[in-house]
Symmetry: C2
Subunit: 172 residues, 2 copies
DNA sequence: GTCTATACCCGGATAGAC
DNA sequence: GTCTATCCGGGTATAGAC
C-alpha cells in the first residue's frame, strides 16, 4: 500500500479542525461555514485549500483509515486482540467511524486500495481464508455499529462486556 | 408486540409513494417537494397528513420493521434459513434497509420495542443465549451492509455466494 | 384536501479586491 | 490567504383562501 502524502501546513490545520468537529457533531453537522468559524476565518477562504466539501471528508477518512489500519496491523496476532482493537477504535472515534462507514460517503474518492489494506488483518488472522476473513470483518463491523448506535436492547444499551467469537471472548 | 394500526386512505398512498421513492433514490434524496411532485400535489398539502418529514421516515421504517420481523419469524428454524432470509430482505430493499440502519434515523420515534421484536429470531435460533444472539445479528447486519455498500474487495464486489457461519454455509 | 404565496433559513460555491 | 459581497439552489414549514 502506498500512502498518500499527509496534508501539511494550513491544510493540515483545516483537516484536524474538521476532524475534531466531526467527532463532536457528526459529519452532517459540519458545514463549510461552521468549520470556517472554528478556524476564525470565513467560509470562502476554505476554497483556497480545498476544492469541495467532499474533499474534506476524503482527507479525514484517509487519515482515519490509515490510523485504523495501522492499529489493526499491530494487533493481528490473535482474533481476540484484533477484535478488541477494532472495537476500541470504533468506540473512541464513533462519529469518525460513522463517516467512514456511512453509505453516503464518496468511497470512490479514497486512495485506491486503502480500505482493503486497512482490513487485511481480518484475512491474515483467519488463515487467509477469504470467506472467514469477510465474516470476521462483518462481525466486527456489525458489533461496532450496533453498539455505537445503541441498538442492542437491555441494560447499558445491551452492550456486551466483550465480543465473543465462537467459544472465545474478546475482552475489552 | 402490539403493532400500530397501519396507515389508511390518503396517508397510506403517501407512505407507499415515499417508500418507492426511498427505494429508488435513497431517503436523503426524498424531499417534501419531490414526494409531493410524485403524488401530483404540492408540498404544503403533505402537511395535512403528516406533521414533519421525519414522520414519513417513521411510517416507512415501522412498516419495514414489521415486514422484516415477520420474514425472520417465519424463518427461524435454522441459522442458515434465518441468515438467508435476512440477506434477501436487505438486498431486495437496500435503500429501505439503509434508512432503517442509518445513524441519523430518529429511532426514538419508532413504536416501542418494534426493532427488538423484529430481531428476536436471532436470539431464538441461538438457544436464547443473548451473547450468541447479539453476535449472530451483528454478523448478519455486517454482512448485509458491507455487501450492499459494495465494500468487499474482489470480483463482483467480493460478495460471497452465501454467508457462512462457523462451518456451515447459508445458501443464497 | 388542495391550492398559492411566502417566510425563513441553511447550504455550497464563485468573483474579485486586498 | 483572507476578505466582502453575492449568487443560487434547496430545504422545511406556515397562513389563509378555496
Amino acid at each position: 500500500m502506498i500512502f498518500p502524502d499527509p496534508p501539511t501546513g494550513r491544510l493540515a490545520e483545516i483537516v484536524d479542525t474538521a476532524w475534531r468537529l466531526v467527532e463532536t457533531r457528526g459529519w452532517a453537522n459540519v458545514s463549510m461555514r461552521t468549520l470556517a468559524a472554528e478556524l476564525n476565518i470565513k467560509a470562502p477562504s476554505l476554497y483556497k485549500h480545498v476544492k469541495t466539501r467532499e474533499d474534506i471528508a476524503t482527507h479525514i477518512a484517509t487519515k482515519a483509515f490509515i490510523q485504523l489500519g495501522q492499529g489493526l496491523h499491530e494487533h493481528c496476532e490473535s482474533v481476540e486482540d484484533l477484535l478488541a482493537e477494532y472495537r476500541s477504535m470504533a468506540r473512541e472515534n464513533s462519529n469518525i467511524y460513522r463517516l467512514l462507514t456511512s453509505s453516503e460517503f464518496p468511497r470512490n474518492l479514497l486512495p485506491e486500495g486503502l480500505e482493503t489494506w486497512a482490513v487485511t488483518p481480518f484475512y491474515l488472522v483467519t488463515d487467509h481464508d477469504p470467506i472467514k476473513g469477510q465474516a470476521l470483518w462483518a462481525f466486527a463491523h456489525g458489533m461496532a455499529i450496533l453498539e455505537i448506535d445503541a441498538r442492542f436492547a437491555g441494560p447499558n444499551n445491551g452492550s456486551p462486556r466483550g465480543w465473543r467469537v465462537g467459544d472465545r471472548r474478546a475482552g475489552v
